[in-house]
């Protein structure tokens, strides 16, 4: 009876662990389901068929190409990010668009008109800082950015850095959501621990505690993955609550590894009819410290103290 339960528990743990291992990749794939689509026309608005649309990722340099159909439409399945888009068709000027942003799980629409001739043209980025549109105050005497001592380097945009920031935010959003989701089984695990370590001979509450603990551990691993893999922005000095949030990770991180190991030992001892003894006795206190540090980390970036 006990061995059956143990087998079921272990197989349950395996399933949950497998989910934990695969989930980051699945979530990443879900997040990457985005596309760039549009219609290419000539100056009169008629569809341009067989035009080549090439999107080059600013971040990775990877390119994707598509050819427009008879109705001038195209679709490129691309990951979220920033792209340089080139449109080419025989008898038309080549058009390059330096920055097109494709957001997560969205379809970006880029319709373009091609002009005749064979020369290439580079269209400036929208609202580029060096090319400010006329303000209500603009006149021949109006000061310019260079009059303020700002160099072109200071006013020029950096699409690579923006792409890095976009990726960082995407990953930290998932980190934040997964962290919130993790608190649910975490609290449930703590609550079920009240019965799991009791003197009762039944193992149902203990099994539930183990299953919830395993789920917590897996969700925690996903949460941690998105924080660890989020790109760092060069030149950023950490200030404020994030320092405490990250410091807490050095407590709950090892705790999340240690707690299930100690728990498995305690579980085994209990199931053998023994009183929990040795290092396994530390399972409870370690779990409490771990849960406390996790909660403190969550609160530190949620509530202003």
């Amino acid at each position: 009876m006990l061995s059956n339960l143990w087998r079921r528990c272990v197989s349950g743990l395996l399933v949950v662990s497998l989910f934990g291992m695969l989930a980051p990749a699945l979530i990443a794939q879900m997040a990457a389901k985005s596309a760039l689509t549009g219609r290419v026309t000539d100056a009169s608005g008629s569809a341009v068929a067989n035009a080549t649309v090439t999107a080059t990722s600013v971040e990775t340099g990877q390119t994707r190409s598509a050819t427009t159909g008879p109705d001038g439409t195209y679709k490129l399945d691309v990951a979220p990010g920033n792209y340089r888009v080139k449109l080419e068709a025989t008898g038309f000027k080549r058009v390059e668009i330096p920055a097109v942003t494709v957001s997560g799980a969205e379809i970006a629409v880029l319709d373009e008109k091609l002009e005749g001739e064979e020369q290439s043209a580079v269209r400036p980025k929208p609202a580029q800082q060096e090319d400010l549109p006329n303000a209500p105050s603009s006149s021949s005497t109006a000061p310019s950015l260079s009059d303020l001592g700002l160099s072109p380097e200071q006013t020029r945009g950096n699409p690579q850095e923006q792409a890095l920031l976009d990726k960082r935010t995407r990953m930290l959003k998932i980190h934040q959501r997964m962290g919130l989701i993790t608190t649910i089984p975490l609290i449930a695990t703590v609550v079920t621990s009240l019965n799991a370590g009791g003197k009762s001979e039944g193992t149902a509450s203990r099994d539930l505690h183990v299953a919830l603990g395993a789920l917590t551990g897996d969700l925690y691993a996903i949460t941690a993955y998105y924080a660890i893999r989020a790109p760092r922005i060069p030149g950023t000095k950490k200030r404020g609550p994030i320092k405490f949030h990250e410091a807490m990770a050095w407590v709950h991180g090892p705790g999340m590894i240690l707690t299930p190991i100690l728990g498995a030992m305690a579980f085994s001892q209990k199931n053998n009819g023994e009183k929990v003894h040795g290092i396994a006795q530390a399972h409870g206190p370690v779990a409490i410290v771990t849960a406390g540090a996790f909660g403190a980390a969550l609160l530190s970036v949620s509530v202003k103290f």
Partner: protein
């Protein structure tokens, strides 16, 4: 005789009327305010640069401030704000306005502002500012009623709750006439 006096007056007066004078931004504190159900946040920048060029009784002002220079005391939040406002792609916020030269003598002014931020341009009509002039320095204070939607910025969210659309920007500047 009268004609000579008139010509002499015009020679003296015309260059004076058309003379360019300039205003230079000496000190500035620009503060944006963000409201969230769990947070009230202020981001402050002291690094704005500004210049006003006056000609024929009208002054054209340009103020520019790097988006990165706003500090809310939390580097994580600042990076998030930088991302949502596309601050790496559009690193400078610019404010342009035209005011009559005589406005410097007023206690209050209402300025029409054109603000470029996050790759978008928004116009704010008749924004009130208070002026205090001491010597050749003028202290200007006021609040620009900016919103995120004015610049097509998706409200950032914390714990799935988005911030409010209003991001009023408090302006506190000292200008010097040259």
């Amino acid at each position: 005789m009268n004609r000579k006096i008139l010509i002499a007056f015009l020679f003296v007066a015309i260059p004076t009327l058309g003379a360019d004078s300039q205003w230079v931004l000496q000190q500035s504190t620009l503060t944006y305010h963000v409201s969230h159900p769990l947070h009230q946040t202020d981001g402050v920048s002291h690094t704005a640069k500004g210049k006003g060029v006056c000609h024929a009784g009208e002054c054209d002002f340009l103020i520019a401030v790097p988006v990165k220079s706003f500090d809310s005391g939390d580097s994580n939040r600042d990076l998030h704000m930088l991302q949502v406002t596309r601050g790496a792609e559009f690193p400078i916020v610019t404010v342009r306005t035209r005011l009559p030269e005589s406005a410097a003598a007023s206690a209050t002014i209402n300025a029409d502002l054109e603000i470029q931020f996050a790759g978008q341009t928004a116009q704010y009509k008749q924004v009130p500012f208070k002026l205090e002039t001491q010597g050749d320095e003028t202290h200007i204070t006021g609040t620009i009623p900016a919103t995120l939607s004015d610049f097509k910025i998706d409200p950032p969210s914390l714990l799935t709750m988005p911030v409010k659309n209003d991001i009023p920007v408090r302006v506190d500047m000292i200008w010097r006439q040259q």
